[in-house]
């Protein structure tokens, strides 16, 4: 492998110093002169008509500058999904009725937080409660309460805005169905007939919260030129400003998202939230900056959850373990609005698609409205749910047939060069090698099924490296400076994943500079080019490649100038340590800064600016079909193979995770330390998913909306962690890199669940796997 000097090195984070000194500014740390404080009144009812809202007392309170309701904000809808088939279904403030507890009903801006809170208490809302429905299978029945009437688009849909020549049409809601997915290839009926063994199981996955440590914040300021300046908790400025512009009815160039550090995201800060719109709306109304900081309870109840799913899996295999057919039927309960339902149901298939070679497959999903909090993407978006179900069942099949779970996986995994049913090709796939390595490293065969309340289990997962979604590509700009440094402009937002460092490393490597030579300008929508954002694991593969190309463009221009100065051919030049040298005569050199100065002096002030672009899946225009699962999805998949070792206390059923080993195929690691950080992060998050995390509701009310009642892993819960890299190079990725940030969580969840089952000799079909469920399973096993 080529020896690099900056990429592939475990360099420390470029944002480390500002973060350890407390200087890093997050949106909630920024205060503007004359700033007002916004607060939101939320529905206490799961389903109710709004008969009347009286804001007069609140408006009369000294210090209150504005009170707004749905009458003021109007009928423009927004949503994570806004397609001709599925028009957006959310409002920034409820118009005629509320559909879940926590839905936004009114908002105030006041001179301080206490006045704003008092004003909320003075708003009188006259509700007429309606029958509500909380169970998706109940909601599907005839005669169930209707969460939505027909959804009639009030504007063009996002797809039209982005160039799809199809009109949005009204969405008629039947039996509360908000979306459907039906994907099929091969002939599953025939596949089952040809199988020696078929089994069918049902799994239930609850909603969980992202719980990024930074609560959601929006600071908005319409300045004197009618420009909206915002500082947000986000993962991509493009999505935020598109929706802010659309809902506020202003040109997109009138919205500037400023750089702020983001205190964790995990998929929970992608879409537009009502509080962001409201901060902007209140700022426009008052002519003053408005900041809205959500409380932790508001984050739990109104900032979206991971998707609830009921998954039925039927799989047929040959007696040797070869999978012949699989049918997945899932019910998704995204809550009171569609959220990302059609997407997550599609992804629950397409993130599984590259793992096992399943010749005959049916994947059906129904999304169903209920009167509960809304669900959106969370790290892996559909993969954790699907992998828990499919990997659990595969272990049961292996046991039924007397095959080792690692063997049955090895028998069925896809390999490099495979072409998937949708046309995606696996140019890099380390599944097989990863299983071999992890089996060896964990002494799998010796430990498997040894009893003594100890267990070991495996789980596999895969993930896109970006996909075709708005804004469909990333750009990057590299400006060479006369002092020998380079300024990099990238839209990637730093929310902990290390994008500021990785993007800088890529630019430095291409230009023959050190990391310290890169001046970074990131995540400012006014200064930086288009960017696809930090979700669907697109960061390195798409934006990183754009940065590589921009730096390569600048490098080419630099060498053109150097060739002239050194009297040498371009092919004979290279850059090292900030100097350009002639390869055939290394004594002949010229400094980087000299060439930049020469270029400015000799070429009409040309200071050398490189630009680069990258589009995921360049062959396709717009989206693949979510409902049919056809069309290309991504250009590269990341893979993870996790093995968990657990011990279960036979008395209390308390599970102790002893060790988690992850073999990951994330391609070339631009920064190996940060890659390991992503994996360790997912190992611990996945442990929380299996052992503790569940949003518990009672009649639609979330009853555990705090860190006291919703436990996430603490330092005393963590297990020993081991990372086994699978050396793979993704030919299309920058330096061979691809996704790493989302894949492993699902693999870890499946691995821990399987390890617990291995330890207790019984299967738990729902998450989280609590001591109560284990004791119940043990009791039933004894029967």
């Amino acid at each position: 492998m080529k020896e690099y000097s900056v990429v592939g090195k475990p360099l420390t984070r470029v944002d480390g110093r500002v973060k350890v000194t407390g200087q890093a500014q997050y949106a909630g740390d920024i205060t503007l002169p004359n700033m007002l404080y916004g607060k939101i009144l939320r529905s206490p009812h799961p389903h109710a008509k709004i008969v009347n809202i009286d804001t007069s007392q609140a408006e009369a309170l000294p210090g209150v500058k504005a009170v707004v309701t749905g009458r003021d904000t109007g009928g423009i809808r927004f949503g994570f999904v806004d397609t001709p088939r599925y028009p957006a279904d959310e409002y920034p403030l409820a118009i005629d009725k509320v559909r879940y507890i926590g839905e936004e009903v009114a908002a105030v801006a006041a001179i301080d937080e206490i006045t704003a809170a008092e004003a909320l208490s003075l708003i009188e809302v006259d509700y007429e409660p309606m029958p509500a429905v909380f169970d998706p299978e109940e909601a599907l029945k005839d005669g169930a309460p209707k969460v939505h009437e027909e959804i009639v688009p009030t504007t063009t849909c996002a797809w039209q805005d982005w160039g799809v020549a199809r009109d949005a049409r009204p969405y008629k809601v039947v039996n509360n169905i908000c979306a459907t997915v039906s994907i099929s290839y091969g002939d599953s009926e025939q596949g089952f007939k040809e199988s020696d063994y078929v089994r069918e199981d049902r799994f239930i996955i609850p909603a969980t919260s992202h719980t990024a440590m930074e609560p959601h914040v929006a600071l908005a300021n319409f300045d004197s030129s009618d420009k909206l300046n915002v500082w947000l908790s986000h993962m991509s400025y493009e999505v935020k400003r598109y929706w802010l512009a659309k809902t506020l009815g202003i040109p997109i160039s009138k919205v500037r998202v400023h750089k702020a550090f983001i205190g964790g995201a995990f998929g929970g800060k992608i879409n537009l939230f009502p509080y962001e719109f409201l901060a902007a709306f209140l700022s426009r109304k008052t002519g003053q900056p408005v900041r809205i900081v959500l409380s932790r309870e508001e984050v739990f109840t109104s900032c979206r959850l991971s998707h609830r799913m009921i998954i039925n899996v039927k799989t047929g295999v040959k007696s040797g373990g070869t999978i012949m057919a699989q049918e997945v039927n899932l019910i998704n309960d995204p809550g009171a609005y569609r959220g990302s339902s059609p997407v997550v149901m599609f992804l629950a298939h397409s993130f599984c698609n590259p793992i096992y070679n399943i010749p005959n497959l049916k994947h059906k999903g129904i999304g169903v409205y209920t009167n509960k909090a809304i669900c959106m993407p969370k790290r892996g978006h559909g993969s954790p749910q699907a992998r828990f179900a499919i990997e659990s069942q595969l272990d049961m099949i292996a046991e039924d047939l007397g095959i080792d779970p690692a063997e049955i996986r090895l028998k069925n995994v896809r390999k490099t060069g495979d072409v998937l049913p949708n046309g995606d090709r696996l140019d890099s796939c380390g599944l097989g090698m990863g299983i071999w390595r992890v089996v060896e490293a964990t002494k799998w065969k010796q430990k498997r099924g040894k009893g003594n309340n100890q267990g070991i289990g495996m789980g596999l997962a895969a993930m896109f490296s970006g996909a075709a979604y708005y804004p469909f590509g990333s750009g990057a700009i590299v400006k060479l400076n006369a002092d020998g440094t380079a300024t990099l402009f990238t839209g990637q937002a730093e929310f902990g994943q290390g994008s500021d460092t990785a993007m800088s490393q890529i630019a430095a490597e291409v230009l023959g500079l050190t990391l310290a030579d890169i001046v970074l300008v990131s995540a400012d929508s006014e200064l930086c080019p288009i960017d696809i954002g930090g979700f669907v694991s697109a960061g390195i593969f798409v934006s990183g490649e754009a940065v590589r190309r921009a730096a390569a463009d600048a490098r080419q221009q630099l060498l053109d100038n150097a060739a002239e100065a050194l009297g040498a051919k371009i092919d004979d030049l290279d850059i090292a340590n900030g100097r350009i040298y002639v390869k055939s005569n290394p004594e002949k050199t010229v400094s980087f800064s000299q060439i930049v100065r020469d270029s400015i002096q000799k070429h009409n002030g040309d200071s050398i600016i490189g630009k680069g672009f990258c589009k995921p899946v360049p062959e396709i225009e717009f989206y693949p079909s979510l409902s049919k699962g056809t069309g290309r999805f991504t250009d590269a998949y990341g893979f993870a193979i996790a093995v968990a070792e657990v011990e279960v206390d036979p008395e209390t059923a308390r599970v102790k995770v002893i060790r988690i080993t992850i073999a990951d195929d994330s391609g070339f690691s631009i920064n190996p330390v940060n890659v390991q950080g992503q994996l360790e992060s997912q190992a611990v998050m996945g442990m929380g998913d299996v052992l503790f995390e569940e949003i518990v509701t009672d009649e639609g009310r979330i009853i555990n909306p705090s860190f006291a009642d919703y436990k996430i892993p603490g330092v005393c819960d963590i297990a020993e962690f081991r990372h086994i890299p699978v050396d793979s190079i993704e030919p299309k990725g920058p330096f061979g890199g691809k996704e790493v940030g989302e894949c492993s969580r699902a693999a870890v969840i499946a691995a821990i669940a399987n390890a617990i089952c291995n330890a207790i000799g019984a299967r738990i079909y729902s998450l989280p796997i609590t001591p109560e469920k284990i004791l119940e399973a043990l009791k039933n096993k004894g029967k």
Partner: protein, 160 residues
């Protein structure tokens, strides 16, 4: 009614007019502009707002500012001295013990309180000391490692 109080933060004396109901966290952030101390739950559950009060870690969201009078308050802004990072800060950078950085100030102050009172803690003691500080990004392993590196370097080893 606001009342005038005197707070000593990072060795500096501040005279501030506060309402008696205001927490130390809000006064640090809103009145003194010391936003390095983070508000993540405001209920004392997550440790993000940890500051040192007479060298002991407290969650500043549960402490009234008026009750912090006459005490030595150390926030993250006071941890580096004359531009020189505290060894814990350097170790957090060197051993990749942070990602989004939101829990980092509280985590560092809990760790400092531990090392000041117990310069040679065991791994379990380190874990206990930061068990009230939640982190959703790192998985904690590198944080424990960074703190133990400082412990070992104080014992004479090189910190890298």
């Amino acid at each position: 009614m606001k009342q005038l109080i005197l707070l000593t933060v990072n060795g500096e004396a501040y005279e501030v007019a506060v309402e008696p109901r205001m927490t130390l966290l809000d006064v640090l952030r809103d009145n003194l502009g010391l936003t390095g101390t983070k508000k993540a739950c405001d209920l004392g559950n997550c440790g993000s707002c940890t500051v040192l009060l007479d060298s002991k870690p407290v969650v500043s969201c549960l402490l009234l500012a008026v009750d912090a009078q006459g005490r030595d308050i150390l926030t993250i802004e006071g941890l580096a001295k004359n531009g020189q990072l505290h060894p814990l800060q350097q170790a957090f950078i060197d051993y990749s013990a942070l990602q989004c950085g939101f829990c980092t100030p509280g985590m560092l102050l809990s760790a400092k309180a531990l090392l000041d009172s117990n310069p040679e803690p065991t791994e379990d003691e380190v874990k206990e000391a930061i068990s009230g500080n939640l982190c959703r990004c790192t998985g904690y392993g590198n944080i424990v490692e960074a703190i133990l590196k400082v412990v070992r370097s104080k014992k004479g080893d090189e910190i890298r």
